[in-house]
Amino acid sequence: MLEIKNLHAVIDGNEVLKGLNLKVNAGEIHAIMGPNGSGKSSLASVLAGREEFEVTDGDVTYKGQDLLDMDPEIRARDGVFMAFQYPVEIPGVSNISFLKTAVNEVREHQKLEPLSARDFLKRTREMQELVQFDSALANRSLNEGFSGGEKKRNEIFQMAMLDPTLAILDETDSGLDIDALRIVADGVNKLHSKDKAFIIITHYQRLLDYIVPDFVHVLNDGQIVRSGDKNLALELEEKGYDWLKKEPVTS
């Protein structure tokens, strides 16, 4: 589904990705871990198409297309979803009307009729239940005055509504208490299917207690320095990241 080859990216003159390789197949859950500043969030941003990042080398193929050649909204309509580390607030725009616009943009791209108000509300209710999202929040302005945890849960609710093929969760677990963490993880597990892939970026192992990844990758200095299964995460939890930094790069 997704293949990243030798990806190099620069922001503000600093190279943040330095030849990253990664292959993600449908149905897989990949966890990406690594110390602060290793390039985890940069990877998410480049995949979502944030303009400030300049790709200087490498290729990204998504469903057989050149992902880097697509505008951010086209990527989104084609099933790439990013749960933001810091979701923005948009005052006055109701969560629901925003989602309706977004859902119908995606549907239009898929050559589907827009959802009727009734079907949309039905879907909204189902998804709210699925990811345990408070309906009062759904009717408020987009993220305005939401707590950190509420914002993160809104990201998962949006993900449920938009039903992406590839979901990238950028440190969704940061700043969440244990209950919120469980709800978020629960949502991801429910939405996971054999057609969908997840890239879960996290600094800590604890999210992986609830979401079991097929692969764990460790990112350091803009490259993946180690890949393994879920046991790698436990190993990291025990030893920290320093022991990996000292090892020579193998790719």
Binding site: E52, P72, A76, V88
Partner: protein, 481 residues
């Protein structure tokens, strides 16, 4: 300089009127402004003498007035002698079919979702019998007439209800108010007149739209709305479709009078030609709008969505004379390109327990400058008067400007005034967030802006609000990136 009386005498005794009669078929008066022009307009409209005298006073006041200098932009040099002050109402359709109309204009109509028959009306195309604006107007007029409501053009009002016009004309905006109001008093072409009798609640939104024929009244309209005791009226000004007016100066005057317990709601969606990208052309929208809450417990609210004109310079105001009267001002002003807006309101609290609420939302893009200017005056007798002001500015890009000039003059210690102001920028982050959800940049900006202006848009009558939202999106198209 001659005195007022001398001039008026001159005009009422001279023989020029007959001289003008032969010219009465002409459609447009040659450019220029002098006493003869004023007299010509009055004669052409067969006005009573008192109105001619009043126009002459306006003209004299105009001659004595100076251009204001306090505004936050360089006032353009308007060549008052270069303007033609009278053009006969155009009875003839401009075009025979839509094919002859500027395609760009039609595209805009289409995107605003205006039905085809309406597009024809707006563009000035002859309409068939299916949708005859005249008959529609007549139907409504009959219905309103049963309630005793008068809704007609100012010219008709002068002819049919001279006592009402004479009683109220210039009582809220005197002919000497400011240079543009004086000019308007001297040369006003037409406008709307509304009278709501005591205890009557006007059953429909009154709009100039229903008087399509009088739409091309030109640059100097004069509107007068009188709401008698315990009556209610909602008035919509202009239409949301772009009026590609070739005229430069638009100097209208609007006067509102609300008696005891009456309420007047006045909504404007203004979308005149803003000039090209270089800032050439466009309308100077210099309008004087003022209402008086004359009676106790009366209420006046102004709601405006200003997106067009090269310069918008106006301060719809309320004089709160009656005790417990309420004044409101809700405004969204959008500027882009090289547009300028210097707009806001003036609320004059005179009566006890008077309340006012000001919500102003400025949106600037491109190289434009957007100023909010507001004055809240609390008079000595305005015990326990209250004002709440909120003015927010939203910037798109980093070459535009937003300015806020709030003034407060309070002469009563029991008054309570609150003022809040914010400035924010549409962030790349906000746009990217929406992009990441499949929404393109244009739509993203439209969503953000509509959210920002929601509090004001919600004050507009529903159909108007829908079109205003589309208009905001359309106006800001191409402002990002």
């Amino acid at each position: 300089m001659r005195t007022e009386n001398e001039i008026i005498d001159d005009f009422t005794t001279r023989e020029y009127e007959h001289g003008f009669v032969t010219d009465i078929d002409m459609d447009i008066l040659p450019p220029g402004l002098n006493e003869e022009v004023v007299a010509f307009i009055s004669a052409k409209k067969e006005e009573p003498e008192w109105l001619l005298e009043w126009r002459m006073k306006g003209y004299q006041a105009f001659l004595k007035s100076k251009m204001p200098e306090w505004q936050n932009f360089k006032a353009p040099d308007v060549d008052f002698q270069g303007i033609s002050y009278y053009a006969a109402p155009k009875d003839q359709p401009k075009y025979d079919s839509l094919d002859e109309v500027d395609p760009e204009l039609l595209r805009t109509y289409e995107r605003l979702g205006i039905p085809l028959e309406e597009q024809k009306l707006l563009a000035g195309v002859a309409v068939d019998a299916v949708f005859d604006s005249v008959s529609i107007a007549t139907t409504y007029k009959e219905e309103l007439g049963k309630l005793g409501i008068i809704f007609c053009s100012m010219s008709e009002a002068v002819k049919n209800h001279p006592e009402l016009v004479r009683k109220y004309l210039g009582t809220v905006v005197p002919y000497s108010d400011n240079i543009y109001a004086s000019l308007n008093s001297a040369v006003f072409s037409d406008g709307s007149f509304v009278y709501i009798p005591e205890g009557v609640r006007c059953p429909m939104e009154l709009s100039t739209y229903f008087r399509i024929n009088a739409q091309n009244t030109g640059q100097f309209e004069r509107t007068l709305i009188i709401a008698e005791k315990d009556s209610y009226v909602s008035y919509l000004e202009g239409c949301t479709a772009p009026q590609r007016d070739e005229n430069q100066l638009h100097a209208a005057v609007v006067e509102l009078v609300a008696m005891e317990g009456a309420e007047i709601k006045y909504s404007t969606v203004q979308n005149w030609f803003p000039g090209d990208e270089e800032g050439k052309g466009g309308i100077y929208n210099f309008v004087t709008k003022r209402g008086i809450c004359k009676g106790d417990r009366s209420k006046i609210s102004w709601t405006q969505v200003e997106t067009g004109s090269s310069i918008t310079w106006k301060y719809p105001s309320v004089i709160l004379k009656g005790d417990d009267s309420v004044g409101e001002f809700y405004s969204v002003a959008v500027t882009k390109g090289k547009q300028i807006a210097d707009t806001g309101t003036k609320i004059n609290h005179i009566g006890k327990n008077t309340k006012s609420r000001i919500i102003s939302k400025g949106i600037s893009a491109g190289y434009s400058n957007n100023s909010y200017r507001g004055l809240v005056q609390i008079g000595k007798g305005a015990h326990k008067a209250r004002n709440f002001t909120q003015c927010d500015s939203l910037l798109i890009g980093n070459r535009c400007g937003a300015h806020t000039f709030p003034y407060i003059e309070s002469r009563n210690k029991t008054a309570m005034l609150e003022h809040e102001a914010t400035t924010s920028k549409i962030g790349e982050d906000q746009i990217f967030y929406l992009n990441q959800r499949g929404i393109d940049p244009e739509k993203a900006v439209a969503l953000i802006v509509n959210g920002y202006a929601k509090e004001v848009l919600s004050k507009l009558p529903m159909e108007f609000a829908v079109e205003a939202k589309k208009l905001l999106a359309l106006t800001l198209e191409g402002s990002v990136g």
